[in-house]
């Protein structure tokens, strides 16, 4: 997916302009699209960034400077964080673990969530299957509460409690 040409959000609007017989492509997020509409009378500079997309903006969390972070490389595939930022593509599945701290805010920004709750490969362990079941049920519970459907919410809560105790996840262990 392309990034917005004016900021780093994912581009949701893909505009093709015909100007003096030349085709110009523009990829914008919703906010920048509104600005673009407001100013569309003023000519845009021809886009040149499609081959070199704008770099991914990263929120620094720890003490590391961006320079230090950029030097960090995945021991598995060798991609440096700098390379990922400029290409927008990761090098191997392990990068998601290696760069987890930096990627999570980015994923939160893109998807609004950082926990998968869809399909699982069949070989996923039974325990992780149940973990997912819990995640899904908690989400449904949130929705039910938001919709003031308290009957469903109560049922969901019961299911969650019993699943938690099956998994040995009770938050309040009885004291010895």
């Amino acid at each position: 997916m392309k990034k917005c040409r004016r900021c780093s959000k994912p581009a949701t609007l893909h505009i093709t302009e015909m100007r003096e017989g030349e085709v110009h492509e523009l990829h914008l997020c919703e906010t920048c699209y509104q600005e673009y509409l407001d100013y569309s009378e003023t000519p845009e500079e021809p886009p040149t960034t499609d081959s070199a997309p704008p770099e991914i903006a990263i929120e620094l969390t720890g003490d590391q400077t961006l320079e230090e972070l950029d030097q960090t490389a995945c021991p598995n595939c060798g991609i440096s964080f700098r390379e990922f930022r400029s290409q927008g593509r990761l090098g191997c599945p392990h990068d998601y673990t290696e760069f987890e701290n930096e990627l999570l805010p980015l994923l939160e920004n893109i998807h609004g969530e950082t926990q998968h709750c869809g399909k699982l490969p069949t070989r996923a362990a039974d325990s992780s299957r149940r973990q997912y079941e819990l995640i899904r049920l908690r989400k449904e519970l949130q929705l039910a509460v938001a919709a003031e459907d308290y009957e469903t919410a109560a049922q969901l809560r019961d299911t969650i409690v019993s699943l938690e105790s099956d998994l040995g996840l009770n938050d309040n262990p009885t004291p010895d």
């Binding site: 997916m1 392309k2 994912p10 949701t12 609007l13 893909h14 093709t16 085709v23 492509e25 990829h27 919703e30 499609d50 598995n76 595939c77 060798g78 991609i79 290409q87 927008g88 593509r89 990761l90 090098g91 191997c92 599945p93 998601y96 673990t97 990627l103 980015l106 994923l107 893109i110 998807h111 609004g112 969530e113 950082t114 926990q115 998968h116 709750c117 869809g118 399909k119 699982l120 490969p121 069949t122 070989r123 996923a124 992780s128 973990q131 899904r136």
Partner: protein, 355 residues
């Protein structure tokens, strides 16, 4: 597979059947999958890419449905043939333009395609006519499950299926429908519809997906996010909103017919006339005129041509299709003449069939 045998045909997804096929041209779902033990494509050298292609090709061609699959070695194809597959929506532009070992398995009816070594190791696509997301999901889920029995896909408990680009991580699913919205475009109501879609995280694109131009009033609506929701929730997200857009388009069409029937009928008839008589015509103009004619058929202002014929012309008048049909490389000017000749011939034929 002999690509030349495909020239006069078209995929089953263009047959104009299925629910709401007057407005929903097609439904498409794709899944992105990567093998856990290999780096992603951008970090895989020639040798590794070859190994990935060989391995996935064997698995894909060993699927229960494989007897109906044709495997094409995309790296060995001429550029015109790759473009031909892009125009038929069987491979992506990125897959056509990249380099190194890569291939695609395509079903007889062209409703299933499995791209190997695109941005991800495997991209599974199911494409159907009309608003048919549930049947796309049933089929793609079945293929994914069958492959999952023998392959270990890159997967992580927290982030789901791992993909080369973080925008696909989680479910790796892209659910999209291609809509024909001429009345909303004509009345400029379309921006309102698009703004509403963006607010609920749906993306709007042109005919050929990412970064492509919306031509002839055809738009693809798809999910933007892939993580934190289940596949079914993402499919339902589209299924909930598409009927509203269909209703909106129909309402505006009705109003147009009621208020401006004469002007509308005139515009549609002129478009039809141009397509039947032009001596040279660009691909943009062809799309635009075909769009008017398509709406004319739906509004019963044109009664001697069918929707499938128009759907087919949308694909068959594109550059690689024309050049393969006339079996020669054509410059833009020659192509515009060839396109006009093709349209005159095909419309005369199809009108005959309808009567």
């Amino acid at each position: 597979m002999d690509l030349d045998s495909l020239i006069p045909t078209s995929g089953s997804w263009l047959q104009g059947t299925g629910p709401d096929a007057d407005i929903v041209v097609s439904s498409r779902i794709r899944l992105a999958r990567n093998l856990a033990r290999f780096p992603f494509i951008s970090r895989a050298d020639d040798e590794l890419r070859q190994e990935i292609e060989t391995l996935l090709r064997e698995q894909v061609m060993g699927l229960p449905d494989a007897p109906s699959f044709h495997y094409l070695n995309v790296a060995d194809l001429e550029s015109i043939d790759r473009q031909f597959l892009v125009e038929r929506q069987l491979i992506s532009r990125e897959h056509a333009d990249s380099s190194g070992s890569r291939g695609v398995a395509i079903s007889d009816e062209e409703h299933v395609s499995l791209m190997i070594n695109e941005e991800d190791h495997l991209r599974i696509q199911v494409l159907q006519s009309g608003l048919s997301l549930d049947s796309c999901w049933d089929l793609i889920q079945q293929i994914d499950n069958q492959l999952d029995e023998t392959l270990t896909f890159a997967f992580n408990e927290r982030l789901g299926y791992l993909t080369a680009c973080p925008t696909n991580v989680g479910t790796g699913i892209r659910v999209s429908v291609m809509l024909h919205l001429p009345a909303l475009v004509l009345t400029k109501e379309i921006n309102k519809a698009f703004n509403a879609l963006h607010k609920i995280n749906l993306a709007v694109r042109g005919l050929y997906g990412e970064g492509s131009q919306a031509m002839g009033d055809f738009y693809q609506i798809s999910n933007q996010i892939t993580l934190g929701k289940s596949e079914q929730q993402l499919i339902d997200g589209l299924k909930d909103v598409i009927p509203n857009i269909i209703k909106y388009e129909r309402k505006v069409r009705d109003e147009l017919v009621r208020k401006n029937r004469r002007e509308l009928h005139d515009q549609i008839s002129r478009a039809y006339g141009i397509l039947q008589t032009a001596q040279t015509i660009s691909s943009e103009e062809t799309m635009q005129r075909l769009s008017s004619v398509r709406m004319g058929i739906n509004l019963e202002l044109i009664d001697d041509l069918g929707i499938p014929a128009v759907n087919e012309l949308l694909i068959h008048t594109q550059p690689a299709h024309l050049q393969k049909f006339y079996n020669s490389e054509l410059e833009v000017r020659e192509r515009n003449e060839a396109r006009a000749r093709f349209l005159r011939g095909r419309l005369a034929e199809r009108r005959g069939e309808q009567n």
